[in-house]
Symmetry: C2
Subunit: 588 residues, 2 copies
């Protein structure tokens, strides 16, 4: 037997007991007469003590144990003279009577401590060592707990967990598919699911009523910092529901998770906001409501005074930075540079200082009187001590720029506390988005989203104005999930494909099975999917999803630990009947 | 609101209440003055009643509702005069006041009843209709419950659920991999996991101590009736354990599942049997212990009497069919034909009737006296009334043939009751298997299985004799799961790859990350994986895994419902830098 207890459970109550522990050498201290070793496992750290006077030979051996050696230790639990209140086992130590080295360890390439000296690349290459660090492991323990709680809640709500296929069918609408050549069907390919969307709808047609799955999804996209080619969704669908039923059910889920995992209670019902309001007030369809700082439209107020940048702008908007009137020239220059960075793309920044004496001072005093600025301040709700920041340009570019500026000022002013959570439902999304580049409409969510019934007539006359029964769940400016009521009528679904520029043949080849299913009694249905990685990351207080994934891939889609993707053999290619010109001369 | 209640919850307690139900028309009966409709949803069936005298117009409309129409119905709960005790809602009916047709339904291609007239192909093509049948849905509900119970048990045992990558690395040892071309790494491929074996071992090196996952795995094999290209495993691994710890833990899991899902309690500890004993006694490494009928070795007893078939045989063995002494000549001929079928492959069948008077009558009376046969019967433990069935040939062929014969006789004699469950651990598997065809050793389980420490020396001298710390969990002759203690030493792992014929370079290219990980303090560890589909299928009392999978593929690996795999566009192929000659002229 390798152990009687773990390294995290012994206390003063066990004093005098003979025990066996197994674990890793976290660190050792040789004090001459005494040698102390901290033995670590997943459950905690326990101090081992070796006494030169009592067991000189054993103590000698203990002195040669390196970091990360794996030991099994027999000894007796004793009360510690120097208690350590920071760890649960801090009252005791093990007086070691014998030990076995179960495995040696080479010197780790970085220290296995909460604060490590390992860079990102090194930590990913040796992910198994990185995962030994308790800060990293705790994120994955949180992920485990969250997954159990998601299932518990949905199970109690009579949702059925159903596994949908991973080997699916390529439907290029949306992001790029990962595909899998079929050996038994030469020339043909499976695709990995971007989401189980069509299958969960099929389950509703099948009468399953309530479905969920915590499921891997796949997108072959060029990876930004916080995207992964494989990611995990909490995927849900319900029948005989309207939007309100879904919002209620999943508001319940989110409340349950925040309560169980973080002890956070939301007193009020989640706020609701239309897409239109979110865009005009926060410049963003996922506003961070931990702080106010709304965008104010100054367009009507400031034009026609000879200031070209405003006169020629479609839209002029402002945000108010509270208490920032005393920003120095240098600070304002830096902020101006910040908004002009290509990532933001503003052409310049106009500011108005609301001074303590009630007067206003701006960077455009040449064009606007003190009285003018006073009206601006009033319109913006700015008070003495505040700083008004104004951007101008095309509406569809300036609003997002103001959003970025707002978030940046929120961060600088400490208004975005990671321990405060403000949830929000964004509703009434447009059904379609016009692409200037492709000169066609795309589905804003996906082609299965139902238009609001009162807007269906607009599909023929003004498709861009059609609103969808679609909703996003946003917390602290992060989209945690989104969904919609679906189309359940085959004729409306056909019309939708037509609006999206599918030929009837394309629609049939790709989605014929779904439209066919709708002919046999499809119930009204709708659903939602939450980004599980993102949810864990938010509850763990992290900025990136990478640290809540056990084995993430890098920005080139590579797993640097196992060194994948990799070349496969000629035999494999031949069997699959595919060829590639990108192969080195010699592989094995 | 579409409903106030489901179709499965109303009882006499609700009499007089106004309710709204939604569901599908299961069937309707027009009795002239009254029309009855059974409305179905996932939760049950509720009778709707329309009275021609009271609401003639509504009743008229109801008469035109077809099977599988989707309705939302408002009405009042009333006590039924003709109660139906077979369904939970059988005491009541709904006196309908109004209804809405939510969706029409075309005539289904087969009847949606427990006994359907739909053949397999039709049911798979219209799987969404097949899944409406309660017998099919109940299997998936059982699967859901089982998954929840697996997680509950393992969570309580401090196992952490960790998601391992689906986009992995191709390691052709074992079955064929499904591969995924990487767009960002041209010419290179990911592979879908045949199991997360290496990752779960890495998690042990990372100190995760106890891991589990209910996870999709993939094998590109030519599909037999009961195989699927994607299947689901309960995958588990533990650190600081010996074989005994694992058997105890997972015996606990299996007990928990059988109790919670089937109400079955196993009184005794699971029996243990060595691989060697299983093979010699049952001719099979997964014996069905619901019945006895052991294989008896008659080799020493029967040779040298001039009967060529026995004299030249390496092995002569028998099974005893109890109470079958009165088999007719015709029955025995049929049984002889049965063992000679190519699937069994025996060259003939010798029988001995143990007659009521204590005498014996055999098909080889010419060579053996009554006394001889009496000794056979004694050796076999046969009593008057029994039939002894004897096969002869090469040991490694005859034992499996006797196993097949034993199982067949068990079935014919009704000894394999689906409601009786007899669990068993098969242990002490050989580490390696010799392939005559390839003239090399293969790992019997996989290359990471640890040899028994006392057998390690044999690796150099007699590899075929090395036993592994490997075990299978068998219930009723079905292998539900299997696993092993793993190698955790990089030198032993290297030696193992060498024994399996890997060059050092191949071992390094494919598994270098694992051997490297072992250098940094790998703990002793081991694990097990259960076939989840098979487990559900056994608990559901089914013979095939297909009916416990929501969307199974057929024997060509096709999903006939969505018609996948399918051709992808030239653009997709070009982006992936792969080519295939197997493409039709025109696709879209």
């Amino acid at each position: 037997m390798y152990r009687t207890h773990t390294c995290g459970e012994l206390s003063i109550d066990h004093a005098g007991q003979a025990v066996t522990l197994s674990g890793w050498v976290q660190r050792s201290r040789d004090l001459g007469g005494m040698t102390f070793i901290d033995l670590r496992d997943r459950y905690g750290v326990t101090q081992l003590v070796f006494n030169m006077d009592v067991r000189p030979e054993l103590c000698q051996q203990a002195r040669h144990l390196g970091r990360e050696y794996v030991l099994s230790v027999r000894g007796v639990v004793a009360e510690r003279s120097n208690k350590n209140s920071r760890i649960s086992t801090g009252d005791i130590e093990i007086v070691v009577e014998s030990f076995v080295v179960l495995n040696k360890a080479a010197l780790p390439p970085f220290t296995i401590e909460d604060d490590t000296d390992g860079g990102d690349d090194l930590r990913m290459k040796y992910r198994y060592l990185d995962l030994r660090r308790s800060v990293v492991r705790k994120n994955l323990e949180l992920r485990h707990r969250l997954a159990q709680e998601v299932r518990r809640y949905l199970d109690e709500q009579q949702f059925l967990e159903v596994e949908t296929p991973v080997l699916m069918k390529s439907t290029p609408e949306g992001a790029r598919d990962f595909v899998v050549p079929s050996r038994m069907n030469p020339g043909q390919f499976y695709a990995l699911p971007q989401s189980p969307q069509t299958f969960k709808q099929i389950l509703m047609v099948a009468g399953f009523d309530r479905y969920f799955q915590i499921v891997k999804c796949f997108r072959d996209e060029d990876l930004r910092a916080d995207r992964q080619p494989e990611f995990t969704q909490i995927d849900c669908e319900m029948s005989f529901v309207e939007q309100e039923d879904i919002l209620q059910t999943f508001e319940g889920l989110i409340r349950h998770l925040f309560l169980k995992v973080r002890g956070v209670t939301f007193a009020e019902p989640f706020r609701r906001m239309s897409f239109a309001e979110a865009m005009s007030t926060y410049g963003n369809d996922k506003p961070d409501l931990r702080f106010d700082m709304k965008i104010r439209d100054l367009s009507a107020l400031v034009r026609g005074r000879g200031f070209g940048a405003f006169d020629q702008a479609e839209f002029i908007g402002a945000v108010v930075a509270p208490g920032c009137a005393d920003y120095t020239r240098k600070q304002l220059d830096e902020l101006t540079e910040w908004v002009k960075r290509p990532q933001i793309g503003a052409s310049g920044l106009v500011f108005v200082r609301c001074q303590a004496d009630g007067s206003h001072k701006s960077s455009v005093d040449k064009f606007y009187s003190g009285e003018d600025l006073s009206v601006w301040a009033q319109t913006c709700g700015a008070v003495p001590g505040d700083l008004i920041l104004v951007l101008a340009g095309m509406r569809r570019k300036t609003l997002p720029q103001l959003s970025e500026l707002r978030l940046e000022m929120g961060s600088r002013l400490g208004l975005r506390d990671k321990n405060v959570f403000v949830p929000l439902w964004v509703v009434d999304f447009p059904l379609l988005e016009w692409s200037e580049e492709d000169q066609r409409f795309y589905a804003m969510h996906h082609p299965f989203t139902a238009p609001k019934s009162e807007d269906i007539a607009l599909l023929d006359t003004n498709p861009g104005a059609v609103r969808a029964n679609a909703y996003d769940c946003v917390v602290n400016g992060v989209e945690l999930g989104g969904g919609s009521i679906r189309i359940h009528d085959d004729q409306l679904q056909k019309k939708m494909f037509h609006t999206l520029g599918f030929t009837p043949e394309q629609a049939e080849y790709q989605f014929g099975f779904l439209m066919n299913a709708f002919r046999f009694g499809a119930p009204p249905h709708g659903g939602i999917a939450f980004g599980f990685d993102r949810l864990v990351s938010m509850l763990a207080g992290l900025d990136s999803i990478r640290d809540v994934i056990a084995f993430p891939k890098n920005n080139s889609g590579r797993d640097v630990m196992i060194d994948s993707p990799s070349y496969i053999s000629e035999d494999q290619l031949k069997e699959l009947r595919i060829k590639t010109d990108f192969r080195p001369e010699k592989i094995d």
